[in-house]
């Protein structure tokens, strides 16, 4: 709790400083009607590493954990006339899997997730954007052992990402992104590296 109070105090102090700093500047009027607004669709693919500990329980189960896999994602962003952008992100992540052997029985377990996140983003340096989102993960267990079971659960979660954007033309950009997905209730988390193609499919003033 002491740590939380410290950071909350620090945060409030910085925000107050920011407000004071902003008020000390001369007003800079921007005509928002001239700023282009757009919708951007981002398609990504890359590599995912499950970043939380996985211990196969109980220990008498013999098996090894596979925590690396491919990942695909889709993000729809609205770029308004102001800095804060918002959108929705989904995709498919393979958190981890393992095969087990108990006596004569063998089996496997796969845990996957579909993120369903509201995402906010802001450009912090030229071509560099940060993203933070919240929402849920639809987690799915596929268990092959004593039959086959597919079982699903919604889990609250967040994501944080940072990306570098390289424009190809007025509508298309290439992005490189590092992202951290975190499903709270199941303590599942993954670190992703993705290449993204961003398509500004709708633009207006």
């Amino acid at each position: 709790m002491r740590v939380n109070k410290f950071f909350i105090t620090l945060l409030l102090s910085l925000l107050l400083l920011q407000v004071a700093h902003a008020q000390s500047r001369r007003p800079h009027r921007i005509d928002s009607s001239n700023v282009p607004k757009s919708f951007v669709l981002q398609l990504g693919a890359g590599w995912s590493m499950y970043s939380n500990p996985v211990r196969i329980k109980p220990p008498e189960l013999n098996g090894s954990v596979q925590r690396f896999s491919g990942i695909g994602s889709l993000r729809l962003m609205w770029y308004p006339s102001y800095r804060l952008r918002m959108g929705f992100e989904t995709g498919y992540t393979h958190f981890y899997s393992y095969k087990v052997k108990t006596g004569d029985s063998i089996g496997s377990l796969h845990l996957t997730a579909v993120p369903l996140l509201f995402v906010f983003s802001m450009q912090v340096v030229r071509r560099v954007n940060v993203y933070a989102g919240f929402g849920a993960f639809l987690e799915t267990t596929r268990l092959r052992y004593d039959g086959f079971v597919k079982s699903k659960a919604f889990v609250l979660g967040t994501n944080v990402a940072v990306s570098y954007t390289y424009p190809l033309n007025n509508r298309l950009s290439l992005m490189a992104e590092a992202e951290w997905l975190n499903a709270y209730d199941t303590r599942d988390a993954a670190f992703n590296l993705q290449a993204r193609l961003a398509w500004r499919f709708l633009r207006w003033r």
Binding site: M1, V3, N4, I8, L11, K57, V149, A153
Partner: protein
């Protein structure tokens, strides 16, 4: 602005980490004197039971404590524990007893359920304090338990002294029923809720009965589990998500362990433990399913017969918490012969001929309604009472026959210390 955003994100990441609470059970094996002592004769135990005045240690444990022995059978051996239930901070201490050179040694730990506070306890009854009479199977003229307690793993150094005051209140029909087979995992107990280990642990907390949560696996095996889904509040991380009813018993038994490492028990395993390993006199099978009650009724009958064959007085009742379960029980041809506990209106308890009516504690003591049910020959249990002030008031002012609580030690103190 950029700096603020970056710091904001860093703050979210850093402060978003959840604080985890834990209670590290004190290691009670380090008292050399106790390790070299001999077993305590059975005749010495019962005369020790009573309400004691706390003459040293009041600041930590209050003014009085109720001392009670309990036992369970593990691998054919009977294990005895002496528990002291206190009136402050839902505190209790649990000890094993031995004798050495005419002294009675009590070695164990204390815990406060309002916090994570715990520590070691090392107590002695010396020959002049009553040990000579107790070891001879007699009730001593005066009885004093003296020793020390400490915090965490520290060697006990703070004085604790208890002096016998009077006998325990003992109207034998009152049931101290512990929730989720003995207590909640979230209360940082050393064993998991709804486990066989908890069933064997809960007599130390003063329980004389238990409530367990019954669900079915996908292949129809009744098991003990509280929540709708597999989650980290109840089980260790295993990769299985979703409703527990999606999985077979074999799958759960192989892949899933409760928080403290136990297997999810079947209802049969739980009742085996109750009948053959404890002296618990009451089991409330809380119905967490909406399918037929017949399979559980069959097991209920079987284990009541097993208890009767051992000469045990054991009531096993099927809980009726809602309309679905009420209708399922009505669907049985001999539903009036099914021992049940009805949480619904008294008219429905009448229709089912339930043995017990169980109103929620928020309805108050309802002494008139309780008296009316007593008039019908029906017992009344109140659930789930966890607030110490309510427990005190309900035991002092109410006429209930039993109380369901996550803190059976608090119920035990209020019940046994009642004058």
């Amino acid at each position: 602005m950029r700096t603020t955003v970056i710091i904001l994100l860093l703050c979210i990441v850093v402060t978003g980490c959840r604080k985890t609470y834990e209670v590290i059970m004190p290691d009670t094996s380090r008292w050399e004197l106790f390790n070299n002592a001999s077993p305590l004769p059975n005749v010495a135990r019962q005369p020790m039971e009573g309400v004691y005045a706390i003459t040293e240690g009041q600041g930590s444990f209050g003014e009085q404590g109720a001392v009670k022995w309990s036992h369970v059978i593990i691998n054919g051996d009977t294990l005895y524990h002496l528990s002291v239930f206190f009136g402050k901070d839902i505190a209790y201490l649990i000890c094993e007893g031995k004798q050495l050179n005419g002294n009675i040694l009590l070695n164990g730990y204390w815990r406060k359920m309002v916090s994570t506070a715990t520590g070691l306890v090392q107590l002695t009854i010396d020959p002049t304090g009553g040990a000579t009479a107790l070891l001879g199977g007699q009730t001593p003229a005066s009885l004093t338990i003296k020793g020390f307690f400490g915090n965490g793993q520290a060697v006990p150094a703070t004085p604790l002294s208890l002096t016998y005051n009077r006998k325990l209140n003992s109207s034998p029909s009152f049931v101290i029923a512990a929730h989720r087979s003995g207590g909640r995992t979230s209360d940082l107990l050393p064993v998991s809720e709804n486990s066989v280990a908890m069933i064997l642990k809960t007599p130390e907390f003063g329980s004389t009965g238990i409530e367990v949560d019954v669900r079915f696996t996908s292949d129809g095996v009744p098991i003990l589990y509280h929540d709708n889904t597999l989650n980290l509040r109840e089980v260790q991380k295993c990769g299985l998500v979703g409703p527990i009813e999606n999985y077979t018993y074999q799958q759960l038994s192989t892949f899933v362990r409760l928080v403290h490492g136990e297997k999810i028990p079947t209802l049969r395993e739980a009742l085996d433990a109750v009948v053959y390993q404890t002296e618990l006199s009451f089991v409330w099978l809380d119905t967490k399913y909406t399918s037929s009650i017949a399979p559980v009724h069959k097991i209920q009958q079987e284990y009541m017969q097993k208890a009767a064959a051992l000469g045990r007085k054991l009531d096993i009742v099927i809980g009726i918490p809602g309309e679905d379960q009420y209708n399922q029980l009505l669907a049985l041809p001999d539903y009036t012969n099914v021992p049940s506990l009805c949480e619904l209106e008294t008219e429905k308890a009448d229709k089912l001929q339930s043995k017990i009516w169980a109103p929620r504690f928020t309805e108050g003591t309802q002494n008139d309604a309780v008296a009316a049910e007593h008039g019908k020959g029906r017992r009344v249990f109140v659930w789930t009472v966890d607030e110490p002030a309510f427990i005190t008031n309900f035991i002092r002012d109410g006429h209930f026959d039993g109380m369901l609580s996550n803190f059976p030690s608090c119920v035990a103190f209020n019940y046994y210390a009642r004058q």
